[in-house]
């Protein structure tokens, strides 16, 4: 990436009278020139539009320069824990932009969209095989949206049994913040269960919390410390005995590819982040996709519309299939379809051989980095990890150099920082997830820099504390941003004039 900061806003390049696009205006026989003026004026916009006026070359140069301030997976190593920043294959982009998919209106009749429906159906079935589930919906738009949908499935299930008092969701204290937040949106109360010092869920503490008010227990496995919850068969039995359902947060599914399936572990409902495990690009924060799978017996609660196969024809069914049982509708149509296409292309490209290896190589990469740095970075839990692991800052804390400083210093060396200050179990969490698409040389380069930073923290702590030095911009003043938020250009101009 560029080290020179390109800091202009498109509004600052605006000059009255310029345009970056034109539409052809045709003479319409028998029509007055301006149909808009025939609309009563109180229904039309009077406020001027605060949009920039720029020509096409200026727009292209502006956004191209802006992109050089950005770091992506194609720029360099991105060991951001829990985000699974693997390589995004280019054939997937080509597939998603094929005109036969791009130009299809979602409300076309089923006979004219058999290809789209077949893609959706094929991915549904592949995810069932990988998740060990009976059925999937691809409609949810993101991981958090999948969680919400999954919890609604669970509520619909309890409601169908007239079991109305179940309004509690149990989540481990190590869970992603989305778990409790999704539960709250789904109208459920959140109770936290503690983790043991080894990072796994305290089974006895969980047992004490399970009663007939519990709707579900949400688990991430491997959990956010990167450890496999080896008590899962016991936990599943306890949860089911209590009449609750077990939810699998698929954020960390990647290391389980080719090893074990959530359905076989006893999970009833799960979501998968296609943008993590199945390599669709993160796009600077979206779009993702969060398909939800259910075990046999829960299919009828899935959201509409659903794709159904009948005599080799595919149909998009909405209110007809499960009108009374379905949780309802959570999306405008069949989810982020073009993201689903990319994930399907990825699965077909990896095929059986690739899928069987992906998880193991991700786990190998994580353990390799962990073992190469554990003498200098504090390893709070000493176990074989899965796809990721957590350091609790530097071993030598006397220098005052924090996890934030280490993260910022990595930026100077051309690496994205790991996830920091999550999970909340440790004060100086530094969570590293290399993914399987990184080579040994890349990992060795990262390891060498991490070791250099640890040494620098002792020899020259100020350099680390003031990092980054070599990036387009330096550390921003977050406090000022939050104290007096400036969130639009219009506001910026108004403030300047004051």
């Amino acid at each position: 990436m560029n080290r020179k900061y390109y800091g202009q806003l498109i509004f600052e390049l605006s000059r009255k009278g310029r345009r970056g696009s034109y539409v052809k205006r045709e003479d319409l026989p028998g029509m007055p020139a301006d149909a808009l003026s025939a609309i009563p004026s109180q229904l039309l916009r009077k406020e001027p539009l605060g949009l920039p006026e720029v020509d096409e070359p200026t727009v292209v140069r502006h956004y191209t320069n802006m992109s050089t301030n950005n770091f992506g997976v194609d720029t360099g190593f991105y060991p951001l824990g829990s985000c699974t920043m693997k390589y995004n294959p280019k054939i997937n982009e080509e597939v998603a932009s094929m005109p036969g998919f791009r130009n299809i209106h979602p409300l076309q009749d089923d006979f004219s969209v058999q290809g789209c429906l077949r893609a959706y159906y094929t991915l549904q079935k592949l995810l069932c095989e990988i998740g060990g589930m009976a059925e999937f919906t691809l409609n949810p738009y993101a991981g958090a949206h999948g969680e919400l949908t999954g919890l609604m499935v669970i509520r619909a299930y309890h409601d169908s049994r007239n079991d109305k008092k179940r309004n509690v969701v149990i989540v481990p204290d190590s869970a992603h913040g989305t778990n409790p937040a999704s539960a709250a949106v789904a109208g459920l109360k959140v109770v936290e269960v503690k983790s043991l010092p080894d990072g796994t869920v305290d089974v006895d503490a969980l047992a004490a919390l399970l009663d007939d008010t519990v709707a579900a227990v949400m688990m991430t496995n491997p959990n956010t410390v990167g450890l496999f919850e080896h008590n899962i068969p016991r936990i599943a039995k306890m949860v089911h005995d209590a009449g609750a359902l077990l939810y699998y947060d698929g954020a960390n599914l990647n290391p389980m590819l080719g090893v074990a399936r959530p359905g076989d572990m006893g999970f009833d409902v799960m979501h998968i982040n296609l943008h993590k495990t199945f390599s669709t690009p993160h796009g600077g924060g979206g779009p993702g996709a969060g398909p939800v799978g259910v075990r046999a017996g829960l299919e009828e609660f899935l959201p509409n519309p659903r794709v159904i196969k009948s005599d080799d024809m595919l149909f998009c069914e909405f209110e007809t299939v499960n009108e009374t049982t379905s949780l309802g509708r959570v999306s405008s149509w069949l989810g982020n379809f073009c993201v689903e296409l990319r994930a399907l292309a990825y699965i077909l490209t990896l095929g059986r051989e690739g899928l069987m290896m992906a998880g193991k190589l991700a786990t190998l990469n994580a353990n390799y980095v962990k073992e190469s740095l554990r003498d200098l970075y504090k390893l709070p839990i000493d176990r074989v990890c899965k796809h990721e692991f957590v350091f609790d800052g530097l071993v030598d804390k006397s220098t005052g150099v924090t996890t934030l400083d280490v993260a910022k210093r990595l930026l100077d060396h051309g690496y994205h920082a790991p996830t920091i200050y999550f999970p909340l179990l440790f004060h100086e969490s530094l969570m590293i997830e290399p993914t399987e698409t990184e080579s040994r040389e890349t990992l060795d380069g990262f390891i060498a820099v991490m070791r250099d930073i640890a040494r620098e923290a002792v020899e020259n702590p100020e350099t680390v504390r003031n990092a980054p030095h070599d990036t387009p911009v330096r550390r921003p003043d977050d406090t000022a941003a939050a104290l007096k938020p400036v969130v639009t250009y219009q506001q910026m101009i108004a403030d300047d004039e004051k």
């Binding site: 498109i10 149909a35 916009r45 720029v54 770091f71 094929m98 969209v113 496999f228 387009p472 921003p476």
Partner: protein, 453 residues
Amino acid sequence: MSSQYFPHTPEDIAAMLERCGVGSLDDLYADVPASLRLKGDYDILPRMSEDEVRKFFKALAGENSQLTCFAGGGFYDHYAPAVIDYITSRSEFLTAYTPYQPEISQGTLQYIFEYQSMMASLTGLEVSNASMYDGTTALAEAMLMAVAHAKKRNRVLVSKTLNPIYRKVLYTYARYHGVIVDNIPEKDGVTDLVKMEKMLADGGVAAVILPTPNYFGILEDYTGVADTVHAAKALLIMTAPASALGAIKSPGEWGADIAAGEAQSLGMPLGFGGPYLGYLCCTKALMRKLPGRIVGATTDASGQRVFVLTLQAREQHIRRDKATSNICSNQGLMALYAAVYLSLTGPDGLREVNEISCEKAHYLAKRLEETGAMELKYPDKPFLNEFVMKWKLDTERFDNYALDNLGGIFPGLILDDNEIMICVTERRSLDELDAYIERVREIIDAPVANVEI
């Protein structure tokens, strides 16, 4: 090697396992009980070559019909300039994550700030978040936001002239969140405002949700509505396809507190339903209740103006179950689509898109009426570029017309046995409009067996 995406040679694997102190890849999973392990391989086909993948998807794409689109219903076939694809496929944008490290994410942060500024202006409100998944979920989040703001009041009034897809998603979110949704009846294609006032008077209302244009394409006159809603201490939430806001009275101008809806019309492909882009804007007073990411301006250690994610104390990763929403990501890349689109059109271009769509829609409506086969269902109601036609001839001919894609035309959305909703964007050429009319004439003239009169 098991895949072109995995760099590991057997020698790499052996050396790395040695560093880890384990004998095999399977040993890394010693903590996974044997009873849980996969027995054998997945029942999935062997890997495909890139060329096979390309052919597979070309064949699938070939099973879809690319039609000349006269349908809307919340999804619009506007023209997207070539620059948009070019910019949004730059991998610095495409392959980045949420901008947690602002020092190396100014590209994403800057375009989101631009997007927020543009959406705030379009909706006529002061604040925009960094975007939502789509229009339906954005409106659902707006509803939850209003209910959280109202504290004890949990009733929301929703006009029956709102797109039924949106109403279904609202209903789902409401049902599980303990929100009561009451439908304001429709009368002659528009919201029954007299009924709305009565429903407000019943009390307990947190928000009123109104569309513009409404589902039938009609531009409703909401004069005085904001005052009525505010007098009942409720918030006014409005929704509009983002592109239309270049010409029609904005939610802010109507006096709305929150605007939420679909921005697919700003340069995004139809793509069989996604990814699209939800927008969510509000007054400054409600800013701290907004869900999702927000980008703000600040300065860095060397005094440069820079951008950061801000007001994060609202969000799930900090507040967990007390957060304003569970939303974690935004729809980053799609916000870039919108920002580039609006930069290219500017104010005049966006107005022109609306003018031309409006003109062509009125042309088609008029010519279709002249065929004698149909008439406008709401002839005295103003519309922008979408309208409902009633078929005056036999049902069989209506089916031939409305269900027939053979001419390569998607003629509109069937609302009822003899009603169709037609949308015309600036993309539809005069030739395409005339071809449509010609097709209708053919159907009128064709002999139909067993015509019931």
